[in-house]
Subunit: 157 residues, 3 copies
């Protein structure tokens, strides 16, 4: 294909996940996936509140690949409203689940900040609705040209 | 479970909902749920534009539980682009549908604000795609320690 | 119905789509829909990074319909983290797929901007999870009163 790739997948199980105050969202999502034997999944919805949010943004004018000097890392103590958590859990080439998550959080001023999520702690609550993806031939690998781990679809080879 | 809870649910009906200009989104979603006899649901996608958006953020440094002195309430007259509406509709312990919605809206400057949604009026249009959740043993209850109503999963007891 | 309309739809196929660096997201989504013969769909999740993002916001105090003098158009060179891409693909009255997309992007400062998307180029990667909607009697038409193209549900007539 020219410029894009796509693959059909089948919907597996559906889960509601609630993460306890004080816990790390990304770490607990990985543990959930291991406990429920989920290999691939997509987050449909997430609401709640968070604190100690570690995320990054890409510097304006940066070139590919994305390297550490080309990003800014942030730490927001909060607490903050959790306004968006988009992302997917895809098995990598070693068979481990890899979460690719982007976060949007709201300050008390109403201002919204966010970026590529390293991790965040739950403040009052965190409710996640997630769909398991049943699919073969889709894996997460590091992309040398992009500098990030990304989905690879087998037909791309 | 340690640090998180999860439960499987089954996908019910799928709906496209269009809310008329001037109407309150949260109120109309509740009426939709009553009309379609939906007990639990998750918002998959929402686009449109809004005005008179009432929402809140949590003050930096606030402790749990979230109480009124620990939040800032906002009223944005707009109109504003509706850029995100994440949330779920869960039946509470009285059998009423309770919407937990977080909103993201864009100003003409491009700046994005948002928070926990009280309610908002539709400006030009509002298109919502929603999935019914079929599940037993999941309810919304007030959390004394958190100060907010949140999902409780029966195995937590 | 009074104040809102709704219609049930059936879930069709599920797709993972990966758009190549340098490509236009909106244009490639339209091409994907044509290639996979998808008539109606909703974006469930999108993560990645973008550059040259063209979007618009509505001016504060604007009246309906939304016309060009009542909006501000923006061009963000980036690169920026792609933090949200909400929207749907609905067939219009001419049988063409029409994408209604709203975007949220994060700057290196952590600040988030966004609005109604004209188009954006992929920077490092763009991973989209999408659900096909099987439904009759739902079309996108221009709304004279609103100034935008929106979903029309047949029972509205």
């Amino acid at each position: 294909m020219d410029g894009f790739w796509y693959k059909e997948w089948t919907q597996g199980r559906r889960f509601v996940i609630k993460i306890t105050p004080g816990e790390q969202i990304r770490e607990r999502l990985q543990q959930f996936a291991a406990a429920a034997r989920v290999k691939n999944a997509v987050i449909v919805s997430a609401v709640g509140s968070v604190k100690n949010v570690a995320f990054r943004g890409i510097k304006a004018g940066a070139k590919l690949p994305i390297t550490e000097p080309r990003m800014h890392q942030h730490q927001a103590a909060g607490p903050l409203e959790l306004l968006g958590l988009d992302g997917n859990l895809i098995t990598d080439e070693k068979g481990d689940i890899d979460c690719h998550l982007h976060i949007l959080v709201g300050k008390s001023s109403g201002e919204v900040v966010g970026g590529h999520l390293f991790d965040a702690q739950v403040f009052a609550t965190c409710e996640i609705l997630l769909t398991e993806m049943l699919v073969e031939g889709v894996e997460r690998h590091p992309s040398k040209s992009g500098g990030v781990a990304t989905i690879f679809i087998d037909e791309e080879a």
